[in-house]
């Protein structure tokens, strides 16, 4: 194994959190930072050529090549685990910018109660009324701790939305259930579609509080505090699973990378597959990786930051034998515990009597309501502890995926002339009511290394032991009931939501919001990293991203992962940045 020239900081993963950390460290200190990215470089030119549904939305060209590495899944420790052989329930990205290139741009702050969930649930419902296998935890940081970091992220990305709570004052038209913000969003909301307005009117008629989805896709041209200018969204509809061809969607490559490439202390190497964090005597000494030429090398560093997707943060710790693997039988160990996947079972298809022009849209264009988010609407008698948000999204529908939707029971066969006629008659008249729910953490849902299946290097795959519980089933059924009320108020034909799967399904796309496994907390007994995302056992190893979330909020995680990274960067610089360039 060849040893390379040492650097001060090596960051594994070139997505949102890795590049944000690199930007903080190189912008505020003189430390040298090297980012190792497994995938390829990205350029805006390739995104225009990538406006192709087949290659990008169906064949998933921007995702990690699952042939090289996947996970295995089992519903319980009693079942054999099998590999996820083709992508389904989640889609990990690859390449510079990571999944931050092909995300939708939906940018939430989490509820205040989410950060103190264990304490809050006990207070509200009483410990005796909680499932005995519940393992939710307080994060160790509060919403108020994160508020300035959220605001930094929102300004950097140019989030477009409508605040519902500024300094405790409720603002109609925004999300009145959210925590207090110090400021209105940097930009006003995106424009509304026909279907979105119908949802808004119906929800308001029922006394709910709909608001426009907060979006990292700019509603107007915007210059952020770093001096980076980007144009407003053109609603082309090639957003989810695509890179933005004009840079209207905030992506690491159009917000952070332009700042980084001009700095002499920054370097990024692509095609580098990190296999181990090397450590000795309670200290990380660097990382071992296979470079783009297939050569195994050792990169020494004073500090190591793991900034990959949840899956690989946890897997790299396990492969490197850092920390104690979690055991559901004893409840001991912390590495791998509290695996969660944002719940989203309830889905009601709605049918209009006119065309929606639904090919126009944007990844985070939509209307939502949080009236059943958190637990402010629940008394304990509903059988639901925590809910989620109901939405109507106008993501931009494309013909391969959207053809073949019609009211249930319209035709017998799903092929042939009758099917074709029904599909043609209903094409572009179909929308849906969605749901994103909190996923609580349970003792039996966790990650460890698979004893049998391996990646292309021969290293063990990560194994998920994950299933839904009665709570997610009830939560989904409750949300479906609200969706039915809204569909009726909209005056549209609709197909009632199917009862959600009792069993976790790896085939059906759900979201790429998989969290936990290297959770943050207040003591080495309950967490892998401290509240600064610094590893409890190795003080010069930092593990950033959604792997630190103790449980899954209803909102999408990117903005919170970024806010935690900004907060971690302050602590990182205080701890390692002796050669500080400037203060504050």
């Amino acid at each position: 194994v060849k040893t390379l020239k040492p650097v001060n900081v090596v960051i594994v993963g070139g997505g949102w959190t890795g590049l944000a950390m690199a930007n903080e460290v190189t912008g505020r200190t003189s430390l040298s930072v090297l980012v190792l990215e497994r995938g390829a470089p990205r350029s805006i030119a390739e995104y225009a050529e990538g406006m192709d549904e087949l290659d990008y939305a169906i064949r998933l060209r921007m995702m990690q090549n699952i042939a090289e590495e996947t996970i295995t899944h089992r519903h319980s420790p009693r079942d054999p685990a099998v590999p996820v052989r083709q992508y389904g329930s989640f889609l990990p990205g690859s390449g510079v910018g990571g999944a931050g290139e092909h995300w939708n741009g939906i940018s939430f702050r989490f509820l205040e109660t989410q950060f103190v969930l264990a304490t809050h649930l006990k207070e509200k419902f009483g410990a005796a009324h909680l499932p005995e296998n519940l393992t939710v935890q307080d994060w160790g940081v509060t919403y108020n701790d994160l508020e300035p970091h959220y605001w930094r992220g929102e300004q950097m990305m140019g989030i477009s939305g409508k605040a519902g709570n500024i300094g405790g004052e409720k603002r109609p038209g925004g999300n009145v259930f959210e925590g207090p913000r110090r400021n209105e969003y940097p930009l006003p909301p995106l424009r509304s579609t026909d279907a979105g307005l119908r949802f808004k009117n119906a929800a308001e008629s029922l006394g709910y509080h709909p608001f426009p989805t907060p979006s990292a896709n700019l509603s107007e041209d915007y210059r952020n505090p770093d001096g980076i200018s980007r144009p407003g969204c053109v609603y082309c509809g090639y957003c989810e699973r695509f890179g933005c061809m004009i840079g209207a969607k905030a992506q690491p490559t159009n917000t952070l990378l332009p700042l980084l490439v001009s700095r002499k202390t920054f370097a990024i190497r692509t095609g580098c597959w990190v296999r181990r964090v090397v450590h000795k005597g309670g200290h990380a000494t660097g990382v071992q990786y296979v470079d783009a030429n297939g050569q195994e090398v050792f990169q020494p560093a004073d500090a190591v930051v793991l900034a990959t997707f949840t899956l690989n943060n946890v897997r790299l710790l396990a492969l490197s034998k850092i920390g104690t693997p979690y055991s559901p039988a004893t409840g001991r160990g912390t590495l791998g515990k509290n695996l969660t996947h944002q719940a989203g079972g309830a889905s009601t298809r709605i049918f209009f009597d006119h065309s929606l022009n639904a090919f126009m849209g944007s990844g985070s264009l939509g209307m939502m309501m949080a009236d059943f988010d958190g637990d402010h609407a629940f008394t304990g008698s509903e059988g639901v502890l925590r809910g989620g948000m109901i939405s109507l999204s106008s993501l931009g529908s494309r013909p391969i995926a959207s053809f073949g939707a019609y009211p249930g029971g319209s035709v017998k066969s799903n092929w042939g002339s009758e099917w074709k006629a029904a599909s043609l008659a209903w094409w572009d008249k179909v929308s849906g009511l969605g749901f994103t729910g909190e996923h609580l953490a349970y003792r039996e849902n966790f990650m460890d290394l698979d004893p049998q299946y391996t990646d292309k290097m021969g290293d063990p795959l990560l194994r998920f032991t994950l299933d839904w519980t009665e709570h997610e089933y009830r939560q989904s059924a409750y949300a479906a009931g609200i969706q039915t009320k809204i569909a009726k108020a909209m005056g549209v034909r609709f197909d009632e939501s199917h009862p959600s799967d009792r069993r976790y399904n790896v085939v059906q796309y759900q979201s790429t919001h998989i969290q936990g496994g290297a959770v943050m907390g207040t003591s080495p007994g309950n967490s892998v990293v401290n509240t600064n995302l610094q590893h409890w056992n190795l003080p010069n190893l930092w593990v950033i991203g959604a792997s630190a979330f103790p449980q899954n909020a209803s909102g999408n995680p990117t903005l919170t992962a970024l806010a935690l990274t900004y907060r971690a960067a302050d602590a990182f610089i205080a701890s390692h940045g002796r050669q500080s360039k400037r203060s504050g």
Binding site: V234, S355, N357, P399, W415
Partner: protein
Amino acid sequence: MKRREFLILPASALGGTLLYTLAREPVRLQAQNGNVSIPLRFFSAAQGRVIAAACARIFPSDAAGPGAPEAGVVIYIDRQLAGPYGRDKYRYTKGPFVASTPEHGYQGKETPREIYRAGIDSLAGFADLTAEEQDNQLRSIEGSTFFQMLRAHTIEGMFCDPMHGGNAGLIGWQLIGFPGPQMSYRDEIDKYQGQSYRPKPVSLQDVVGHPVRGWEEEKDT
């Protein structure tokens, strides 16, 4: 080296379609009368006939408009199977292969190429049956991995960008009113509410101003 096979189709079905030859050279078919020979990359001519006939029953040409034959769906499928997708370059294919529950999806060892070969063998003589007999035979295999794949590929071939060999002459997009990749709807997004807006469809090549190659053209490594 495989002998070069051609699919013979009525030219009227495929006027002005851009295709790639085996040498990966673009060729524009202009013939309006008679038959055209389309070089196949994966299928034999006989296999191509079976798949073309099956696609024509899944997405028929009928009173509601053109279907799989006019869109060149069989050409699309031929190119997909010849490319990296057909040999499972982007699927996890390490063993052991064990049967599991439906929640774990397709767990088989067979690649799309192998699934098609076996599926076509099970449809011997299919192209010469009556439409009703063809429908009955397809109905008898509806639950198979092969049929589900063929049905999905037929829809893909109807509505993909024409660079992939299907949706010839944008006929699938014209059929439904999908405008293709457009550079902007900034001025249209909140106009036309309650009424349909149907700009003339464009292909990706039209939009970016030069040919774009699909993933299936990636060289095997």
